[in-house]
Amino acid sequence: MNPAVSSTSTPVVLAELHRGEACVVDGLAPAELGTTPDERDAMLARLRDLGFIPGARCEVIARMWFGGDPIAVRVSGSTFALRRIEAAAVRVTRAAVVATGVAA
């Protein structure tokens, strides 16, 4: 990734994005408590297997009530429903920021 991108953008997680917003995955890191280390590992491994890997492009398709829990995300051509705790484990950069970063 372009280093200018990460330095100019505020770090966000997928769970914070609004419907219709696009982003690029930076990496995975579970911020939320309430899971055991094993559960966290399994969650991260599965997210990675589903395609939430650095550089992958995502778009938020839909958000339920209750602060986007669950959230529907399109990643490299497939759509997944993620709970808030899962979407909070995906660190992303908003696509608009990436676009300006690339242009600069």
Partner: protein, 624 residues
Amino acid sequence: MDVAVEIKPLRLALVGVPNCGKTALFNRLTGSRQKVANYPGVTVERREGERLSADGRTQQVLDLPGTYSLKPTTLDEAITRDVLLGRVANVPPPELVVCVVDAVHLPIGLRLALEVKSLGLPMVLALNRMDVAKRRNVKIDVTKLAAELGVPVLPTIAIKRGGADVLIEALDPALWIHHRRIAAPAWIEATAEDAEQRQKDLRGVLEAVGYHAPVENPWFARLDALLLHPVGGLLILASVLFVMFQAVFSWAEAPMNWIDGGMAGLGTWTAAQLPAGPLTSLLVNGVIGGAGAVLVFLPQILILFLFILALEDSGYLPRAAYLLDKLMGGVGLSGRAFIPLLSSFACAIPGIMAARTIPNWRDRLTTIMIAPLMTCSARLPVYALLIGALIPAKTVGGFNLQGLVMFVLYLAGIVSAVMVAFVLKHFSGARTYSPLMLELPDYQWPHLGNLLLGLWERVKIFLSRVGGIILALMIVLWFLSSYPAPPPDATGPAIQYSFAGKLGQLLEYIFAPIGFNWQISIALVPGLAAREVAVSALGTVYSMSAAGDDVAGQLSPVIAGTWSLATACSLLAWYVFAPQCLSTLAVVKRETNSWRYPIIMAAYLFVLAYVASFVTYRAVSAWA
């Protein structure tokens, strides 16, 4: 590589991520020569089929449960890994793995293919849905993909006749005789580094074959905007379910009348052909009457399953799970529980089995425990009989009163399920994290051939139940209600002196407080094996207690004439909970691998049923 053995690919296994068209390909390879059984020890559905290879030998084809990874999160996924590794007793590892990859969503399927390939089993890759890939402008260099992976890559279109021909050619055992494989596949759980390395390999392969994401179908986005809308989506879901249940009742009416008429005609014809006697009585009352009373609701089961299969095939069901996840979370259920619970409206058994796709054990257990509260189709004939006999067919507030009562009964089941789930949530202690991470697959038109195969499977299961358990029970019941014969100076109906009559009179002590007479008490006993039998049992009991050889068809007026409204309402309330279904309890035992849960289930359902019937009986008696 220690011992090398020559392979002769007579045992094939299909592996792939969910929604890659694996089952359609399985149907294409095996046609209707398939059987569904269970893996030893667990009730993960084991779909196996047979096909004749080019050299005339029989190839076994195993359709393994879909998985994204060999690191399992559900029971289903663990089975796929364990079968590949040869860890499942009595299931030898496959001699050739057919890895099915959706060409449209190449990355996710290819990642699994790389992982499966690392096991060292001989493998071919079926690049499926090539037609959709072409339409959506996905270009894949197949030759290069085969070179990169080092395995044959066969483009397929599973839903098209002849769409798997290249794959079938590649499965010819003659092509494989010079291949050798290692004695036992090896698997080490991937570390985070391994997983990252595999992602790098994957990216390399994707670049080499020139893959880029498919052109988005604008309809998918439009449909998702509508169907996943927090308000609109829920309204549409409610309408879909409403139409489904409406269809179950209105579309099934005509075929049900035909079956009813046909069986009644057959009974009358048989009675006319044979001399009166015990054998004729057995044939007409036991066999024809009993089987007919159950066969009659095959149409309803088929319509219900048609809807469920079509909704599943179209990609809508996971979206319903998405919509309901948080709402169901409030009572301690996962959105994933929606699909098993919906299936339970047809029958709790497939519903309880479908619960294995729920990763979290507590969520899964709660789903299993409340599945029998969804009004299964086996309770329909009981409801239909009692409502038809005792509820007047008048209109109340613009609604048909009989339909309204039926709706209330369904609702009573759902409301009690919510309450039971809520109570279980509080008993089960601390809540653990339960993964959702559910794929919402591309929309597609349900494929008619696959729907028909799915329905055919249900018909086979249902008919073998009618032919097997139910028929045997009806014969036993006929025997019990015919012997011993009444003494010559008998005044009451013959059945009162039989074994069944005595048993019913004993049971009446338990059931009298909730208003059941001895005829109902007897009918509840064979109802243990299959709920629907209660109706035919009532038919048998009443036709045997009547003077002539009346076929069960005249049950409705008999009930209307002899039962009080309170008794009928009490029996309806009983059937909302209906604890008596041995097959359900047996499946729960297998699924949970313990006697504890089926015993708890039977006990809590019995208590709920008894209390509900008692309250209903007393309330209606006081009011009427």
